[in-house]
Symmetry: C2
Subunit: 267 residues, 2 copies
């Protein structure tokens, strides 16, 4: 089925998920929407995140998508359960796949979760983890400075290492052996986080597992694209196209030549 | 004239300007709007900042304000010139007052400006400064990490001092003697900035000068409130009321008991 996969995020972070879908599902067309006019979602209220997510999905539906991936951890955590039954199209978030990967990764049953304020407050990673492995022990923490540090390019930097140490200190005390990077920007800080946590802690990036689950879902529903023709990737943002394009070109395996601006408030 | 002063900002930062108005104009009623559902403005495009500012002004006009203060440096820098003639109500930003204060403060004619990406890119502080003092020398720099550092409470912290040093290093080379804190969050970092820049550099907070100019404006137009009755302060936000109230109560000389939520996209 040639209809595209819809992917949305509060901004550019979800491109890490889109990239993983491109890699694992190379025959699928993708329509990406980044809500750059209202980024970030992670510090906003549940009601607002739900309203924004509905608008994002409504927009993607105008592109006749056959499935939607909520690439944003915050929207997945706060809005997905609430709204997915309102739509006919299957909608997949990154939280459940991330939780499954972490449950598989842990040996000692101690799992850490980091994410935005809204994601951590939702407690939803905990809910999924407890459903999968009831006896699991979980520590979670919001890390609000990680996104601005990544966006300022301080990926390898003493300041970032310092902040990583402060946010993650308590995870060491709890002797976790798996850490969910519950925000699309956090995998950029993997090196710094791994240096601090040590080699015995597995870092779980939900993007990989999400693309895997998406493939399963498309197979199950018999809507996988088996065609061999050239795939089409379309990019839409609600603001600041040029900035988006240059970021996208820095991280995607393809060249993004033009993205379109959408007035998302109209959806 | 009892009609209130309207004040708007992208979030909570503009409360520093509201506080200064309360101090210098204790008889004036105030209606404050913080666009917490779409904060921040400083990383967004000119078109989007203009659209948001129009909506903010449209909302304040429904409250029958007699004058509007754009407390947000970004909106003042990027949108004000473009839209102020569309409205009958007088609208005052923080940029012109800030530039005037800096031009008065400098002895050697070397002025530094720090602000958001959008404010610095607009070049508008430079335009005002050059109009006031044509032979002035100006250095400017965006400091995107300052707002998240303040919001994370790292006001007195080695990480903040480290980042201050990196952002402001070149200002020392240029031997500035006045530095405009061109974003409402930056005065919270005054101690750290002053320690780095040294006592010979005057830090200019546009809020003080803005309230002073507002007083002049109200006098000129003969709409100053001369009454002695109890003043009324009303607060509106587009999201996250509780977080706003607790922040407001931490910094205003009055008790904010309840704020109202506005769906700003409807204005």
């Amino acid at each position: 089925m040639k209809a595209p996969i819809g992917v949305f995020d509060s901004g550019v972070g979800g491109l890490t998920v889109a990239r993983e879908i491109m890699r694992q599902l190379p025959n699928e067309n993708i329509v990406y929407f980044g809500d750059t006019a209202r980024v970030p979602y992670g510090s906003k209220s549940k009601d607002t995140i739900i309203r924004y997510s509905r608008q994002d999905i409504n927009f993607l539906q105008t592109k006749k998508v056959k499935a939607i991936v909520v690439a944003c951890n915050t929207a997945s955590a706060v809005a997905l359960e609430e709204i997915k039954d309102e739509y006919q199209v299957p909608i997949l978030g990154v939280v459940e796949p991330g939780a499954m990967a972490a449950a598989e990764a842990t040996q000692n049953g101690n799992i850490g979760i980091i994410g935005t304020e809204a994601t951590i407050k939702s407690g939803i990673y905990n809910n999924y983890l407890r459903k999968i492995k009831p006896n699991i022990s979980i520590v979670s923490k919001a890390c609000p400075l990680f996104v601005p540090l990544v966006e300022e390019g301080l990926i390898e930097d003493r300041v970032t290492d310092d902040i990583v140490g402060r946010y993650l200190g308590e995870f060491k005390e709890y002797q976790i052996d798996a850490l969910i990077l519950g925000c699309t920007h956090y995998p950029f800080l993997s090196n710094s986080i791994a240096r601090f946590m040590g080699p015995e802690v597995k870092l779980v990036n939900p993007a990989y597992e999400t693309a895997k689950q998406l493939k399963e879902l498309l197979k199950q529903k018999n809507i996988l694209n088996e065609g061999e023709e050239k795939v089409i990737y379309d990019f839409y943002v609600s603001d600041a196209v040029d900035k988006f394009n240059s970021f996208a070109n820095g991280m995607l395996p393809i060249q993004v030549e033009s993205s379109s601006v959408v007035n998302i408030e109209n959806y």
